[in-house]
Assembly symmetry: C2
Homo-oligomer: 249 residues x 2
């Protein structure tokens, strides 16, 4: 079974190599300024004068500190980039770790993403957390206070994380041009609308994470991607959370 | 790993033993007649004069013909009820089968649901279908023409299904009183709204399956249940698919 599970994980990672879709909210903020291109061309990630939405499935993965990389993979070790992610500067590393939960349940090969971070963190889908026997709360990346821990095992050693196991909350990376286009700001919530044959879904609670260096990209987990059969989606849009209106909608 | 997976499945089955919630659409059909109680009391499944919505997670399972029960479990065998489902007359059987997909991937213990049916059918979540290596389409129960097959293995024999592997489409069982309350008919589509901390979801494409003997119950699969953390949901409602209105919503 472990081979099968790992294969599924790899498939999910490969699939997360991305879905691209027509972007543009059905109701872009009418007050959004028409932005001139950034110096040297269009805003980062834009195509033909518009944001270019990607929705990516984040398969389970972990982030490590420099210290933990050395403990797990040997003194002097650093993360080795294997595959670039869509966000510039981020990558899937060649390294994987085994994750061991309570009652000695485990996930044999969890991909490490780079670069390293100030705190180690394990991001699971809910299905993974059930398999591992860990009741992982939905949290935004970095908000790990009070979350459960686990044991990470590498070829050179192991690390006991006292906290850091989360189910990553949905979020959308975007730069200031994207934010202006949609009329949203860092920390706002948006809706992700996925049209998919016989299984369309609207995901609420998509947190805006604005950064000048970001490209427009929604991250959902494997459960969410599977629930709407993202690979077969026919239309993918994001929009600000709808507000009640006079007609009662 | 097989033990872990099976345990997760069992947990899902037990969990599907149910989420109960305040029902009542936020916009019940204004034309819905006020129904008098069925002979002897309220309409089936109603509580305090209103429909009583349940949302259940259907873990992977299969339905079998009488003939296949005998092949898999031995001549003269019948399904033995182990646990009643919410819908009267339906049950999880004591029997399970092993399912083998292409490339000899397998799921070791898939629960059989009773009673038997005119055609055998395997219902998986998308995650299961990836594990099994079968590209199962989203279909409504019984609509299995042209779907992939698999091999079922029981203690007494095995069966090659030429078709019947599906990802069960979301649906809501209801009786005629429920349908009148919501202003919908058999075959209509509804929306399932799940409010859950940090991961609320609106599921479109919920098919109405009306039957006089049914109790109001939505069935979603494990991926869908996990995507919205159904166990922790704070509010669960169904409503007809919204129509565009004059204000542009």
């Amino acid at each position: 079974m472990s081979t099968t599970v790992d294969r599924a994980q790899i498939e999910a990672l490969v699939r997360s190599a991305i879905r691209q879709a027509q972007s543009g909210s059905s109701q872009p903020s009418p007050s959004a300024p028409v932005l001139s291109g950034a110096p040297g061309g269009e805003p980062l990630g834009w195509v033909n004068g518009k944001p270019n939405l990607r929705v990516s499935i984040s398969a389970r993965h972990c982030h490590l500190t420099d210290e933990h990389v050395e403990i797990l993979f040997g003194r002097g070790s650093v993360l080795e980039p294997d595959k670039d992610l869509y966000q510039d500067g981020f990558y899937a590393a060649k390294q994987t770790v085994m994750v061991v939960g309570p009652r000695r349940r485990m996930l044999p090969n969890v991909r490490v993403l780079g670069p390293t971070r100030p705190a180690s963190q394990l991001e699971l889908a809910f299905t993974d957390s059930i398999s591992l026997g860990i009741d992982a709360p939905v949290r935004h990346s970095g908000k790990i206070e009070g979350t459960p821990g686990c044991v990470l095992v590498g070829p050179a050693g192991s690390v006991q994380l006292d906290q850091g196991v989360i189910r990553a909350a949905r979020h959308v990376h975007m730069n200031d041009h994207d934010a202006a286009f949609y009329g949203v700001s860092n920390g706002d919530m948006m809706q992700l609308v996925i049209k998919s044959k016989d299984c369309s879904v609207i995901f609420d609670d998509v947190l805006v994470r604005e950064d000048k260096a970001a490209k427009l990209e929604v991250h959902i987990d494997t459960d969410e991607g599977n629930a709407c059969n993202l690979d077969a989606a026919t239309e993918v849009t994001i929009q600000p959370m709808p507000k009640p209106c006079a007609c009662g909608h």
